[in-house]
Amino acid sequence: MVSCLWARAQGNGEFTPAAEDSALLTGLSNSYQQQYRDESNRLPSLNKKDYQKVYADRWKSIKEVFDEQEIYTSRYAQAYLDAIVGEIVKDNPVVQHHDFHCYFSRSYIPNAAYIGEGVILFNMGLFSRLTDESQAAFVLCHEISHYLLQHQEKGIDKYVTAINSPEVQAQLRKIKGSEYRKLDQLQQLVKGLAFDSRRHSRDHESEADSMAVVLMRRTPFALSGAATTLALLDSIDKNAFDVEGCLQQTFNAGDYPFRKKWLAREDGLLGGHARLKRDEMADSLKTHPDCALRIRLIGPLVGMGAMGAGTGGSVSAGRGGRTFVVDSLKFRSLQEMFRYEVIEYAYASDEYTQSLFLSLELLHRRPEDVYGVAQVGRVLNGLYRAQKEHTLSKVADLPSPDNPANYNALLQFVQNLYLEDLASINYYFLRAYHPRLDNYTLFKKAYEESAKSVR
């Protein structure tokens, strides 16, 4: 079954992305749209327009997920995900008869989210980093809890009520009537509302953690998955991939050797790599509590006492339950497939620099990976075309102080290249694999296109 889905399992390393089922996506989108319309008509009559505006914004975001084909429609993957969800629902009467649906998102971002209208997204970028099914189960239980506890809807209600409250309206009227220091007054008002909103958001996360543990306890999954997941999340953004080293190694062809100036950057305030001081208010405005705190809070619930307070993946598995319940082979095969699918989706959604980063990371781990080779060539061809057509800004991120340093290094590399560098780097990189990989269509196309650009 697995080998049918993915040619890589046959040992030749040629990944072919799963075809998206457009008809299925359209059908799902239409169905959720109807659900949204019905819900919108049922909103409270008091301040109805305000509610409808927020729900319309939310629906717009949901619709994009379908329109941009972020939902992964592979039946094999969906069946596996449904099986895990089925294990959770089967033993939890509180969840049964609720109309929610879980889907894999093709996003590389290590995250999961309840996005409204009963739709839960489990990003491939997170799934592929997990250790076992108990962690996947905790992630799903956490998002299901957000859905069951109606955190989003309560948040919207709180926001609309607050804005329309006599107190806030009176303050806004007072500010409007003021000739001087309007901004100061407004900032005080907004700060109060934002603190309140963010505090509730953090409370919601802790509530969802607790309820997730309650749901998991009734399933055959190991409860320790809760703490190990939170420990994983605490360090998931840390990526030690040495981009500069990889670039120098990958693009150092004999006929077109690597040039140090391709990595040159300015470290001052204005070069895109500045280390900015964190806003004093940033901690107060965080929407999620720290993972260390979340682990401490659920420690007693999972029978770990205070021992689970450590982070960085050091949380032990604990007692009871199984780490794999559905199918460990399918779990591993999906993880493997997702490492490729996220690269493909980043490219398909015009995130070329992100796709390049992931491709290089893949090549760094597996230097002979044919998809990795072909995809690097494909992305560089895309960057070349975009730069030539003056549309690079649509497919390439720019260096920013908000980016991780290694991703910024890649972005700076792209910014430093002149058109002829881009063409030659790619051509000489791909030429090293020609004609060895010519049977792989993706490679052959990339190589032929790169050869045209150096002519």
Binding site: D50, L172, Y180, D184, L186, L276, D397, S400
Partner: protein, 526 residues
Amino acid sequence: MSTPNRLNRWVLPMALLLTLPMSSLLAQSKLSIDKVYSAYLRNSGSILEKGQIKGYFFLYQSDKIDRHTNEYTLQILDENLNKVQSIKFEDSKKLSLLESAYNGNSLSFLFKNEDDKTLDMKVYDFDGKLKYSYSRQFDKRTDELMKQYETLHTDEGMNKNVFDLGDNGYVSVLPMRDGKQRTYEVDYYSSETKKQWTYVPQDDEEKYAFAEYLGCTDSLIILEVMKKNHAMSGAVSSHLVGINFVTKKKQFDIDGVNEQYTLVPSGVEPMEGTGNLMIVGSFFDKSDNIMKDFSKGLAVYEMTTSGKVLTKTYNTWAGDFARYLPTNNKGKIDNVGYLYIHKVIRTPDHKLFIVGEGYKRQADAVGIGLTALSVLGGGGSAGVTKIVITDLVIMEFNDKYKVTNATIFDKTKNTALTGSASDYNSQHLIANYLKMIGAFDYDFTTGEADNSNFAVCYSDWERSSSYHGQTFNAIHYNGKKFSTDKIELKSKASFLRVFPAKSGSIMILEYFKKDKRLDFRLEKLG
């Protein structure tokens, strides 16, 4: 990991003071923030270091404090359009931000305070903390001259008055007027210690002088100064003036009195390794009037920082350039006309490139007809000629400063000047006037700090079967050869402009009038 900085979309006016909704947080409530509060953009511009774009500033009036005072927010964007600093301060209601510069350690901003009649130079560190504030008075007459300068066209996005002096600080060169005298002053502002001084020229001739900043070294500010000497029948002389900002004294003033030719400098470049300077400009016979007569060609001088001229190399229109361009002895090129020199570029392999743009006088059929009619009617002249802007010419020189090549880059010819002004007989004055009114198509040159790669950018108009409209063009030199790039500028925006950006890139700005929306994005040149 993904960043939203690909496209900056702000609802901002550039010159018009339209409103800027600060937040849409409460947009649909009965009374919302955008209904009770707006910020106003006062000024925006580029932040430069050694002539390179390093970032951008936006000055907003963010609040009113009392009858006389506003609160301002100075938003600083880095070279990639990321917001990296936001500085809040209170100041006079009548405040405008003239220019900004960056020296790798600090940021400087020159403000004009109309209430106090002061020019205030504020130097900030990277944390947005005010390091030093310097203030000097200006009077009405100085202000008028400054306003006049503000309307003059210089290379888009480039500073006119404020420049960085590396780690030392900043300099501003300001035009001054005192009665009939027109002169200039140079202000030095330290960014390392609280130190400021003003250089006031003392020579009699400098009572009628125009100064233009050409460049700096680690101790010198170098200016081109045009002086009018009343004792010498009002003749204008050209000077290269070096002011030592360590000793606070004028280090040299080269007027070419004892030279074979008169040099009118148009660029200066420090020469790496030797510590010397390279000066490039047009040269004239000693007896020529530099305001009226035709130059003989282009000269390159090497000189020490103490002002001693070491070498002089002359390339004449009639001799040297004629080998590569169809020129006559007045410097007029067939089908191109005379050249206005826009830019001097020295590459790491010691080649020199000079960018010029052609302009020529043509008979104006409409003008001739109108003049004939007005003469018959006893009226004045409508002008019988017109000035046409022609092609771009890039001339290449070897390490001995002798011309080795010249290439004409064709572009659509356009009429820049009609009427009686075009009949004026001084080519030099016409060229300066064309530059002043922004008639040339040359926009700017962008490239790496060492000029190993550079792109000469200009605007053009295309009428072809595939495209009809304005284009933005770049002539890219990669250290070996030239290639060309073109961007068609037709857009759904109400207006679209292209500005210089970090090396190898341009910033495209689009304003959508209906949405009151301003989009700006960086694009690399192809």
